[in-house]
């Protein structure tokens, strides 16, 4: 590769020293004099107030007259000052990326305890480093990429529906993709919602009425996402729609077909084996009857209003529904249809499915017909089939918090059971209820529900799970044997019904969605999330997760969390998406197409261009720089923080400022999210940081390339310290682990080079670890002094 000669840069250095700290602690005039004499520097002056209108005007004029083209601000300009400078300067022609800061105070120049000559030389070194970087600066402009202002929501449960309405209200287009024939999800199957104990259909119906009013709302039912291409702002989703055999635009839901249909199928046949134990009831609600016809309204809620046909139950040659339909809406020859949807962002609200209780045979589910799950109990509560029951028992944590089944707490079952007990007691005040539990978990105000239920007559809480569940004569009432672990007494009781509070497992479609969207999931099958500061964020930019798809939660939390996800998605729902120009670029001359960057990018943002070179999807990239750190050839650079800029700065360290060869010189790469801030704070509050260290700010510890460490060591820097986040705290998932692995490899190489591997050191620092930072540096200085100078040192 031929070196392109840099156009000569004209650097102005402005020293801003509002508190006179630099003036006081070193010979500033001499420093500025030396700086002014450096190559490419046109002037080095002090400035009293960088945000003064007059000063900014002069700067603008001088830029216009080509008197300089880049600035180094020596001192700590706060964000608001920088913001005030940016607009007038960029309008007069100075690109915002042609300015850098060199904060001497944050590197301990004002520390009186340090020998003044050392401080002076360190300040000069830092200035030279800033100059080296400034010479390599390039003007950068943000990129605006076209985007789509509609969003795809996967899952039409309570979370998806509410989010759809919120986004439609704001004027965005919404594609709601639902795998079932109708919307409503699990919430629509519930009899009552806690804490207000009201009918969930009331809330859902309001939302559905609202949805129907918006033109930009499209509902894709019986549909699954098959793939996602493109990048945030501009996704193309492939959706496969299964046939409904009824034309949605022609069916008006009159129901004549249902009356004509000769086939009755028993819904939910999966949970009662041969014959239903109780008479089939239509009491719950007309939309989800226990027995349905082969042509029936959409389930679980009749939205869309079109009916749907279960074709596998249709007898050969039957034409009853088609001849009954006055609108000609029955289309028996419909075939699966593949659609593509243009979307700016994707919200995943796939929700949950009950954990298969048939795996819990110790409680007799699937063996005794009087043992049911809590979702089935919801249906039963809406009917009159519990009439005549004297005693209902409940078992909590059936499957949850169990190493053999679900390892987590399903979060809602305790309150759900209490709600069921309350509903049951309201309808049948004389019924006795026994609740077997391990712990009752009713966080927040749900405690009220617990108190209410505890005070009801004939409700008994037993701590301990039943050891045996048997049925009299195989069919009659159940005999439960258990031990009350509080009293230590054995219990034997007879129950007419046993309800298992089964756990919440990830939706059965979650794995398929994860596959289609390339979205990582946890060990349990829920979608990965930050869980703390950015709970809605998945590991894929532009895809946000809300509701039970992320973790078990109740209805209110589901709605809230998916609204937050929607709020974050709005960023991409515009005509254009702005991308900061500091994204990574690949030097095609150097790149060997080894694909390591593609593999290790934490956000999977690399694709390949037509010549098989990796190319970051700019809107998906979070600009953490891990690709830059990982590239074995140093071919990737974040713009504005390039490998060349780092290398040029490190080159300045060839001559140590410490004064003697024995005094160790340390280069510290510090992650700007935690470690750098801890170090800056240490200097600000005046902790005794050894002067031996030069701090270099990096976007993530994972952005530190081994070549840079090798550069520093081969130039005679005695030790290289990498300050990253604690394990599991990295803002970019695992940058700290990646750099630890790579620097470990380098340490092994140092061993064969007869250099102490301890010269490279990794420290995990949190933002408030200023004291620990000082301790780490002190320890490192001690170690390096004991080791003696780096053999490469001049």
């Amino acid at each position: 590769m031929i070196q392109v000669k840099q156009p000569t840069s004209q650097i102005r250095v402005y020293v801003w020293d509002p508190d006179g700290c630099l003036e006081k602690s070193l010979d500033l005039q001499s420093l500025m004099g030396q700086c002014a004499k450096s190559t490419n520097v046109v002037s080095c002056e002090k400035v009293d107030d960088p945000s003064a209108t007059e000063f900014i005007e002069t700067l603008g004029r001088d830029v216009g007259n080509n008197l300089f083209d880049r600035i180094i601000w020596v001192g700590n300009l706060d964000d608001s000052t920088l913001r005030r400078l940016r607009e007038p300067l960029s309008s007069s022609g100075l690109n915002p990326y042609m300015q850098i800061q060199c904060d001497l105070k944050a590197q301990g120049i004002c520390d009186e305890a340090v020998d003044p000559p050392v401080r002076f030389r360190k300040a000069l070194t830092l200035l030279k480093m800033a100059l080296a970087r400034a010479r390599l600066l390039e003007p950068l402009e943000p990129i605006y990429l076209p985007a789509t202002d509609s969003v795809a929501i996967i899952g039409g449960g309570v979370a998806g529906l509410h989010t759809a309405v919120s986004l439609l209200e704001l004027g965005y287009g919404v594609h709601l993709i639902e795998r079932q024939s109708g919307v409503g999800g699990k919430t629509a199957l519930l009899e009552r919602l806690y804490p207000r104990i009201c009918d969930p259909h009331c809330g859902l119906a309001v939302v559905i009425r609202q949805l129907a009013q918006y033109e930009r709302f499209s509902l894709h039912t019986l549909a699954t996402v098959r793939g996602l291409e493109g990048s945030p702002g501009n996704f193309t989703a492939k959706v496969l729609k299964q046939p409904r055999f009824v034309a949605e635009d022609r069916c008006n839901g009159c129901g004549l077909c249902q009356a004509a249909c000769p086939v009755s199928i028993s819904a939910n046949t999966d949970w009662f084996q041969d014959e239903p134990p109780f008479p089939a009831s239509t009491g719950l609600n007309a939309l989800v009857p226990a027995t349905i016809k082969a042509i029936h309204p959409s389930k679980p809620m009749a939205f869309p209003y079109a009916f749907t046909i279960e074709r596998e139950f249709c007898p050969e040659g039957c034409d009853a529904c088609r001849s009954a339909c006055p609108n000609g809406a029955v289309v028996p020859d419909q075939v699966p249809e593949e659609k593509t949807i243009q979307t700016g962002a994707v919200l995943v609200t796939t929700g949950w499915d009950p954990y298969p209780l048939s795996r819990l045979n110790e409680f007799g589910y699937g063996i005794h017909r009087r043992v049911i799950g809590n979702l089935e109990m919801e249906r039963l509560l809406g009917s009159d089939i519990a009439a005549g029951f004297k005693h209902v028992a409940f078992i909590q944590c059936a499957g949850s918090r169990d190493e053999r089944h679900l390892k987590y707490c399903s979060a809602v079952c305790c309150s759900a059971t209490l709600k069921q007990v309350r509903s049951l007691k309201e309808r049948m005040p004389d019924i006795a209820c026994t609740i077997f539990y391990q712990d009752i978990r009713t966080p927040g105000f749900e405690e009220d529900l617990y108190k209410q239920v505890r005070n009801l007559d004939n409700v008994r809480f037993v701590r301990g799970l039943p050891a045996g569940v048997e049925a009299q004569d195989g069919k009659g009432p159940l005999i439960l044997t258990a031990e009350d672990t509080f009293s230590g007494k054995p219990i034997r009781l007879e129950a007419d019904l046993l309800v298992l509070a089964g756990g919440l497992a990830p939706s059965t479609q979650a794995a398929q969605v994860a596959n289609a969207l390339n979205l990582p999931t946890t060990r349990d099958g829920f979608f990965e999330s930050h869980h703390q500061c950015y709970p809605e964020e998945s590991q894929r930019t532009g895809i946000y997760v809300g509701g039970c798809a992320r973790e078990p939660m109740n209805v209110a939390q589901s709605i809230e969390s998916s609204q937050r996800a929607a709020l974050k998605a709005i960023r991409f729902l515009k005509e254009t998406v702005r991308v900061d120009p500091t994204y990574p670029v690949i030097d095609r001359g150097k790149c060997d197409q080894c694909k390591r960057c593609v593999e290790e990018c934490p956000f999977s943002s690399f694709t390949f261009d037509e010549k098989k070179f990796p190319q970051p999807e700019l809107t998906r990239c979070r600009q953490c720089g891990n690709c830059m750190g990982v590239c074995p050839l140093g071919a990737i650079s974040l713009r504005h923080r390039t490998m060349r800029q780092f290398a040029a700065q490190i080159e300045v360290l060839e001559t140590s400022f410490m004064g003697s060869r024995e005094e160790p010189l340390i280069l510290a790469f510090l992650c700007e999210n935690d470690a750098y801030l801890a170090a800056a704070e240490a200097h600000r509050i005046g902790l005794p940081v050894p002067p031996n260290v030069i701090q270099m700010r990096v976007s993530c510890a994972g952005a530190v390339n081994n070549a840079l460490i090798a550069d520093a060591l081969s130039l005679g820097v005695d030790g290289v310290m990498i300050g990253g986040c604690k394990d599991g705290h990295c803002h970019y998932i695992n940058g700290n682990r990646l750099v630890l692995k790579r620097s470990g490899d380098l340490q092994d190489k140092l061993k064969t080079m007869m250099i102490e591997p301890q010269r490279v050191r990794f420290d995990a620092l949190e933002i408030r670890d200023s004291v620990k930072y000082v301790e780490c540096v002190e320890a490192f200085v001690g170690d390096l002094t004991a080791m003696g100078p780096n053999p490469f040192k001049l």
Binding site: C594, R596, V630, P632, L708, L713, D745, K749, M753, F792
Partner: protein, 106 residues
Amino acid sequence: MPPKVDFEKCDGCKAQDEPLCEQVCPGDLMTLGENGKAYCRSTRDCWDCMSCTKICPVAAIETRIPYQLGYHGAKLTPMMGTNTITWTSVDIHGNVERFRYKNRIG
């Protein structure tokens, strides 16, 4: 003497179709074995150019020096910087010599 690959360290360049050592080897001698690790498939054809040793991103490859240059125990280790290469030569008596060169432009 052929390059020796430390299988503990080699990650086969994440088992992509061509690891870096394979791409860089002038004799096309390096390749991935069935275990997903790189190895030299024709040891007698190796010229000891050390390209693979230099490029390996996980420092898994070591080139044994031919006996004419140094007996067992002697080592020559390159370390790549951004535009420098640093050589460390250790002879059988443990004497160390170090060299540092600029090696690329840009």
